[in-house]
């Protein structure tokens, strides 16, 4: 009987101790994880374009070719937001935000984030396809 009591007490003690040690926020709570870095690397690409406005127009043209509806564009921030219905069904929506930033004098960094019904698209192939279309559009624009 006594032993049982002791055991119960020990367990209760252990439990209460565990309750006390709240999980401490670690130093790397907001540090980029490897997955995030990977995502960023395939969402970003640099192009040999000098003029930022030209690059933005290229991005818009590429999105239009892909059937996207341009929702917002901000020239000074280099931001384009677009969406399209996931045809043939008209209930799913694919959204994309593209930012155009000057990396060096002669190079432009373009980053795209795509979502499918509010869920981020993490498939690298999607971004490869997008950048392939963008490359074509920029090339045609430059001619």
């Amino acid at each position: 009987m006594r032993r049982a009591w002791r055991a119960t007490l020990a367990i209760a003690g252990l439990l209460s101790v565990q309750g006390c040690t709240a999980p401490q926020p670690t130093q790397d709570l907001l540090a980029p994880t490897e997955a995030q870095m990977k995502m960023r690397s395939f969402q970003t690409r640099t192009f040999d374009v000098k003029d930022r406005q030209l690059a933005m127009r290229g991005v818009i043209a590429a999105l239009q070719d892909l059937g996207f509806i341009i929702e917002r564009a901000n020239e000074s921030l280099g931001l384009v937001t677009a969406a399209r219905f996931a045809e043939p069904n008209y209930y799913d929506v694919v959204g994309i935000t593209v930012t155009v930033r000057q990396e060096t004098e002669a190079r432009m960094m373009i980053r795209a984030n795509a979502i499918h019904n509010n869920k981020p698209i993490e498939d690298p192939k999607v971004y490869q396809n997008f950048f392939a279309t963008l490359e074509r559009s920029l090339f045609v624009t430059r001619e």
Binding site: I60, I69, R72, P88, N89, Y90, F130
Partner: protein, 190 residues
């Protein structure tokens, strides 16, 4: 025997469920299709002009003539977005609703389209380095809201949305005919 019936029913139901979720591969949405070029040709016209602002403001004026309200505009990238809201009632749908109501002995009332928002997105950009030739591309789409309905005892609340791109060539021809009149220029097709 009874168990087999249950299994069959379960299989049938699960197949119905699978039918509900139409598989859309998001990856495919970022690829150009053979139709992309056709749509592009339909939605695009070229104008021989150096005045980008004039072309853009004329486009806005034409959209206003067509009853659109301009919602967003960015001159630096030649961007305009305009919308208009109209009723989406069609007699055909009401007749269909009545027929189905009678045929189902009053059990089914299908929802009909009530209201729609038609939107236009217009992008204008120079196509050559000297900026003597400009391209105008417009895309029309609409969002339709459905009314209430009923399926047996299940009430279908109003407000279900349906979105679609408008791909009637006549719509685009009309817009560009008006625009070319407004800027006194003959448009070129791609």
């Amino acid at each position: 025997m009874r168990r087999w019936g249950l299994v069959a029913t379960a299989l049938f139901l699960s197949s119905q469920l699978a039918g509900c979720m139409t598989p859309t591969e998001p990856g495919e949405l970022f690829q150009l299709t053979p139709e992309s070029a056709i749509h592009r040709a339909m939605q695009t016209r070229l104008f021989e002009t150096t005045d980008q602002t004039e072309l853009l403001s004329a486009s806005a004026a034409v959209l206003q003539d067509l009853g659109f309200q301009v919602e967003e505009s960015v001159r630096d990238v030649g961007f305009l977005r305009a919308t208009k809201e109209r009723s989406a009632r069609q007699y055909g749908q009401d007749i269909g609703r009545f027929l189905i109501f009678v045929l189902s002995l009053g059990h089914v009332i299908i929802p009909v389209d009530l209201h729609q928002k038609i939107a236009a997105v217009l992008i204008e950009r120079p196509v050559n380095p000297d900026a003597t030739r400009h391209e105008v591309r417009i895309m029309f789409y609409r969002v339709v809201w459905k009314g209430e309905g009923q399926a047996d005892r299940q009430y279908v609340p109003p407000g279900e949305q349906k979105m679609e791109m408008l791909r009637d060539p006549v719509l685009y021809q009309q817009f560009f005919a008006k625009l070319s009149k407004a800027v006194f220029l003959e448009p070129f097709t791609l």
